[in-house]
């Protein structure tokens, strides 16, 4: 081989290097560029795999709902008769009206007559009936079934009928709050696009003239959800009614949504936090770029490659110096907790659960490890969900120092009959606990048995790096008192399987810190999480991991799921939170606060939605509202 050739090759590389630095000028545009942490799972709204917040975020810009939650989560005066006062009209023109007919109820929904699909067709009652029947007859989209049923197997909705082009009647077996906050908040799909597809699938899988059997229904449903939107149905053939149309998608890299210039809601006025905004959209579209590490997306923001991104609390000072960038934070309505397995000792002792709750210093963790990212909560309804949140619950050691907490735990355990082979000793000066002098050893439970090793099942550092540190510290404090604790990092899927085995066997864990919930604004989830029928060994895949079984709680939870009066329902929900805080099947620890930065010099009229899912300035309402700032 001729080495000159190789050298030339190297020179060529160098030349490219220099040439490469001459970036071609970009064309001026008004696309909003979002730095995303993750690729969306997919676009097919019927696919249960695409239930992640990112996919839902894109879908919510394509298909729309009859009702939504108010943009600022404040009371909507029109929603007085509803189970949640924060419901807000979207495709529907009025709040649902109810009437009792015999054993059943009838709900009448009036639709707007100015809603158009992207292909120019009008959105009518036919589409709403079609979409609802899709759910009732075939159970698609499957992920929404939970909103259509209280018992799990049968729907509370009897039937759906079209009264006229813009009026739909739902016949209900019973009146439940979830009808408004669940069933009426699903996407509405265009009948003219999806009916032929469903018909074809029925033809293929349904033999004979009988009713469609369960097996056939499964085949049909899975065929629909395995359609590949973007390929089987091309991106530009998707028909929606929302403000943004999918235009270009390079999986794993970016997605482009173009503004729907003929959006039906254009010009409508939204009142948010007392200010009026006119709906657009005014921007050219949305460019969603995937960045694989928060450090990199932060750099991209600083270099002006994107217009909005999430940052870590420690980055705040960096961005405070930049005038053109504004910082906002919002708290997601999510719930993390210490989950105790009540079936096992020593977790079955209330005093032990209280002891661990006292030891878990969520204030310290939030300050030192999470840097304000995971604010402490005391209730299973986080404080951001202020309508349903009960603020008067025990705070288990707030304001205490580590030594004080440890002493408190020692007292609680001792009073309940726990014994040590060597008791922990404390330095107490003038009644004030200064420090732990000697570690406790050989804890024995009140029944005389030696306390077994307590495993703390936590997220591995690959998922949530900081929670590993918190778990290690908790483990250390527990060992100080003499509780034989062991932190076992467990990957999310494994944790879910241990908490709720698919085969309906008993959950296998001691204390769970790894799995939390992104909770609905509707507090109905309390029943789903701690009702005794929801124990995994009773209902396979149930969510009551702790095995909490309290008839008082069950009764009240069922009652609250059927109470339509918001005031009375609120009282019940408050009571439920109290019971959980008292019995401690779980100890709520924290929720999640996220911080965002956005370009204030490029777009104006941002508003921060402080709660739920993708909140903050990254909310779907914002994109219909923000306006580009004129530049030279």
């Amino acid at each position: 081989m001729n080495y000159k050739f190789l050298i030339i090759l190297a020179m060529l590389g160098l030349a490219l290097l220099i040439a490469g630095t001459n970036i071609p000028e970009k064309t001026q545009n008004n696309y909003l560029r979002i730095a995303a942490g993750q690729e969306i799972n997919g676009l097919n709204p019927f696919n249960p795999a695409f239930n992640d917040v990112y996919s839902q975020f894109v879908m919510s810009n394509i298909w729309e709902k009859l009702y939504r939650y108010t943009p600022d989560f404040l009371d909507n005066p029109a929603a007085k008769g509803s189970s949640d006062r924060r419901i807000f009209l979207w495709i529907a023109e009025e709040m649902p009206s109810y009437k009792k007919v015999g054993d059943n109820y009838e709900a009448i929904i009036k639709l707007r007559d100015n809603v158009y699909w992207w292909d120019g067709e009008r959105l009518t009652a036919d589409d709403v009936v079609f979409t609802s029947n899709l759910m009732l007859k075939f159970g698609i989209p499957p992920q929404n079934w939970v909103n259509w049923s209280i018992t799990g197997d049968e729907s509370y909705v009897e039937s759906v009928q079209k009264l006229d082009d813009f009026t739909v009647k739902y016949t209900l077996k019973e009146l439940v709050p979830i009808f408004e906050t669940g069933a009426l908040m699903g996407y509405i799909f265009p009948k003219h696009q999806w009916e032929p597809i469903i018909e074809k699938s029925i033809e293929k899988h349904h033999k004979g003239t009988d009713k469609i059997s369960k097996d056939e229904r499964i085949l049909i449903a899975s065929e629909i959800w395995s359609l590949n939107l973007g390929k089987d149905i091309k991106l530009d053939e998707i028909i929606g009614s929302g403000p943004f149309k999918p235009a270009d998608w390079r999986k794993g890299e970016y997605m482009r949504l173009d503004a729907n210039k003929d959006y039906w809601a254009k010009g409508r006025i939204l009142e948010i936090d007392g200010r009026e905004y006119e709906i657009g959209p005014y921007i050219d579209g949305i460019l969603r770029k995937v960045y694989r590490s928060p450090d990199i997306s932060k750099l991209a923001m600083r270099r002006g490659e994107v217009d909005i991104t999430g940052i870590l609390p420690s980055d705040i000072s960096e961005f405070e110096k930049i005038e053109t960038i504004k910082i906002e934070d919002y708290t997601a309505n999510s719930l993390f907790y210490l989950g105790f397995n009540l079936r096992r000792k020593p977790m079955s002792y209330l005093s032990f659960r209280q002891a661990v709750s006292y030891l878990y210093d969520k204030e310290l963790f939030n300050e030192r490890i999470y840097h304000g990212r995971l604010p402490p909560i005391n209730s299973v309804v986080p404080f951001v969900n202020d309508y349903w949140h009960n603020p008067n619950l025990s705070k288990y050691g707030e304001g205490m120092s580590t030594a004080e907490r440890e002493y408190k735990v020692y007292i609680i355990l001792k009073e309940d009959g726990f014994k040590w082979s060597k008791e922990p000793r404390f330095n107490i000066v003038d009644g004030e606990v200064i420090e732990l002098r000697e570690k406790g050893e050989g804890l024995m439970m009140p029944d005389g048995e030696v306390c077994p090793i307590v495993r703390l099942m936590g997220a591995p550092p690959e998922e949530i790096p900081d929670s590993a540190q918190a778990n290690i510290m908790l483990q250390g404090w527990m060992i100080d008192i003499g509780i034989p604790a062991k932190y076992t990092p467990t990957e999310f899927a494994t944790a879910v399987d241990k908490l709720s085995p698919i085969d309906g066997s008993e959950p296998d864990f001691d204390i769970n810190t790894s799995v939390g919930w992104l909770t609905d604004p509707d507090p109905g989830y309390i029943k789903d999480l701690w009702h005794s029928t929801q124990m995994p060994e009773v209902t396979a895949g149930g969510n009551n991991y702790s095995g909490y079984n309290n008839p008082e709680f069950d009764e009240l939870a069922e009652q609250s799921a059927r109470e339509m009066n918001p005031e009375e329902r609120r009282e019940m929900i408050f009571k439920l939170q109290e019971i959980i805080s008292r019995d401690l099947p779980v100890y709520p620890t924290n929720t999640v606060t996220r911080i965002q930065v956005y370009r204030a010099d490029k777009f104006k009229d941002w508003f921060n939605r402080k709660m739920y899912g993708i909140g903050g300035c990254n909310n779907p309402y914002a994109y219909m509202i923000i306006k580009p700032i004129e530049r030279e």
Binding site: S293, P294, D295, K298, L299, I311, L312, P313, S314, D315, I316, S317, E318, R368, I369, H371, P460, P461, E462, E463, P465, D466, A468, Q469, N471, I472, M473, G476, Y487, T488, P489, T490, E491, T494
Partner: protein
Amino acid sequence: MFKANKLGIIGVVILLLFLFFALFGPIYVEMMGNSYSPMGGMDTSLGINPETNSYAWPPSLKHPMGTDSKGSDIFSQFLNGSYLAFLIGISIALGAAILGVIMGLISGYWGGRWIDSLIMRSADALVSIPFLPLLIVIAAVVGSLHLFTFIMIMMVFSWVGVCRVIRAQTLSLRTRPYIDSARVAGASSSRIIFKHIAPNVIPLGFYELTMIVGAAIITESGISFLGFGDPTQMSWGMMINFCTAQGHTFKAPWWLLPPGFGITLLSMAFYLIGRAFDEIVNPRLRKME
């Protein structure tokens, strides 16, 4: 003979330095108190650093390498990291060497027979598996790679190199007259392998062994960086992982740089020593001088 090899001396010096660090770790914590413990200790007297908006402070007299975002001493983490690096590197290398030497001797002595094919095909299969991804899969299986698990897995994957060297040497050695002479005298296979061949080939595996030490340290850091490491052990890789995860990559160089230099220098030291040793024991190379 080391004197003749300057690079080897550099390696030894670096190695001794880190060995000192590793041994000094527990003494340092003992001296400074529990708030300097590499795992979980934090300096409660620190306030928030406005530059980093966290408890991460640059090096000072109190904290010679500064503190991390929760106010823990980085120097004590660094010392603990060098201890772990030695632990990981040496135990993996030793385990792999034992496995590799045995496999290599067996395979080489019966070269061309079915047992040789079996061992060499398994070696081929091991080399053909994308290793890092496989480690990630295993990590996902068990939640996170506990240090012991990691060491065991690395051993299983690292013996191939040693085995090949030992096999090649054994192959050439087994036709040497003194081996024949022993066989004619009636020596059994195990006697020939362990009394005649092993003492003559094992030194040649040392170079491979030092390569494994370096590779083990780097692999551990990569796995930890991806977040699959053992969170109860503050290794160098874990330090980098925590630094990036806390978003301090680009603003706390005192946190990012030490573990990286530790990994680089220590694996380099092992490589240099291995190379120097190889030049001394490997007659083929020595002849060339």
